[in-house]
């Protein structure tokens, strides 16, 4: 019987973690904070994958492990499965979540809300800085889940690199590249 955790507490904790690393510990060094946040996610991923694979037969191939991440693992974390899984059959997988829990509180900035065009053209002059800020804040929040996925997969014996793309809030896609 699993123990339950308040969703809003986790949301708040993650937001606070990201802001602490970006605005307090490593001000003006976004790449360092990104690395630190990813490292936390990595350890969490290792531990979670250990827990969620209890009582499961071992995976015989990469796709099975990825499917496990998409289904059981994601359900345990976010109470939903990954909405779309794509692969090129050469070690790259794209996991898309149409409503990623940890991004639901990200506000789509004012200019993007009022004029739809700025969302489609992020480099229009007046919205460039706003969009850049938004993009950076969003991407900071994505290092943690990326780390979780990387940790879980490497603990299952699949070394990989994970990146995320959230240009289309609140949808979010994670790109997994398995290292040969």
């Amino acid at each position: 019987m699993g123990r339950e955790v308040s969703e809003s507490c986790i949301d708040a904790l993650i937001t606070e973690m990201v802001s602490s690393y970006c605005n307090r510990f490593y001000v003006n060094k976004p790449e360092v904070s990104a690395r630190r946040i990813e490292a936390i996610g990595y350890q969490v991923g290792i531990q979670l994958s250990e827990r969620y694979t209890v009582e499961r037969p071992r995976f015989s191939e990469h796709l099975e492990a990825i499917k496990f991440i998409c289904k059981e693992f994601w359900s345990e974390l976010f109470k939903k499965q990954i909405d779309n899984l794509k692969t090129n059959h050469k070690g790259t997988f794209v996991l898309q979540d149409n409503r990623f829990q940890w991004l639901t509180h990200m506000s789509i900035n004012a200019s993007a809300e009022t004029t739809d065009s700025s969302q489609q053209e992020p480099h229009s002059p007046n919205s460039t800085t706003l969009d850049a800020n938004l993009l950076q804040a969003t991407s900071m929040h994505l290092y943690f889940p990326c780390g979780i996925i990387r940790g879980a997969l490497s603990n299952l014996g699949i070394p990989c690199a994970v990146s995320a793309d959230a240009s289309n809030l609140p949808a979010c896609s994670f790109v997994i590249r398995i290292k040969a």
Partner: protein
């Protein structure tokens, strides 16, 4: 009677070994555990010959020594659990059950945020929990 339980990491590095005998025989037990790793490797790489259900975590009896029997269990994350027992007859169901509890205890131990993945498990509560699981199995098999 259960003589020893051990946890072996992904790189076949010893993470934990607990002996339940009064003697100072850790070295001998380490040796037995070490030997069992080859058997595990063989089982996993040739699942057909060994006749176990493919990809099941429980590996069954690995090999008998003169005085002991060695059972193995391999998790999805390539962590091995080894059980060394002096009982001549252990039912598979009991062993399976034992390893399941062992696995849960292990997961709890490594979920400790102060535990560094891949390092030895030093948690005393893990060791206490294992002792109670071992006592539990011991009471089943002696009845």
């Amino acid at each position: 009677m259960i003589v020893c339980v051990a946890v072996i990491g992904q790189q076949n590095n010893p993470l934990f070994l607990q002996s339940f005998t009064q003697e100072d025989d850790d070295l001998k037990l380490h040796h037995i555990v070490h030997c069992s790793l080859d058997v595990i490797d063989e089982r996993v790489n040739n699942p057909k010959r060994s006749g176990i259900a493919v990809n099941e975590a429980f590996l069954g009896l690995l090999y008998p020594t003169e005085s002991y029997k060695v059972y193995g269990y391999l998790t999805n994350t390539k962590v091995k659990f080894i059980l060394i027992t002096a009982d001549p007859e252990v039912r598979d169901a009991d062993a399976r059950n034992f390893f399941r509890k062992f696995h849960v205890a292990y997961v709890d131990a490594v979920s400790n945020p102060f535990h560094v993945p891949g390092k030895k498990i030093t948690s005393t509560s893990f060791s206490r929990k294992l002792r109670s699981i071992v006592d539990n199995l011991g009471s089943i098999t002696t009845v």
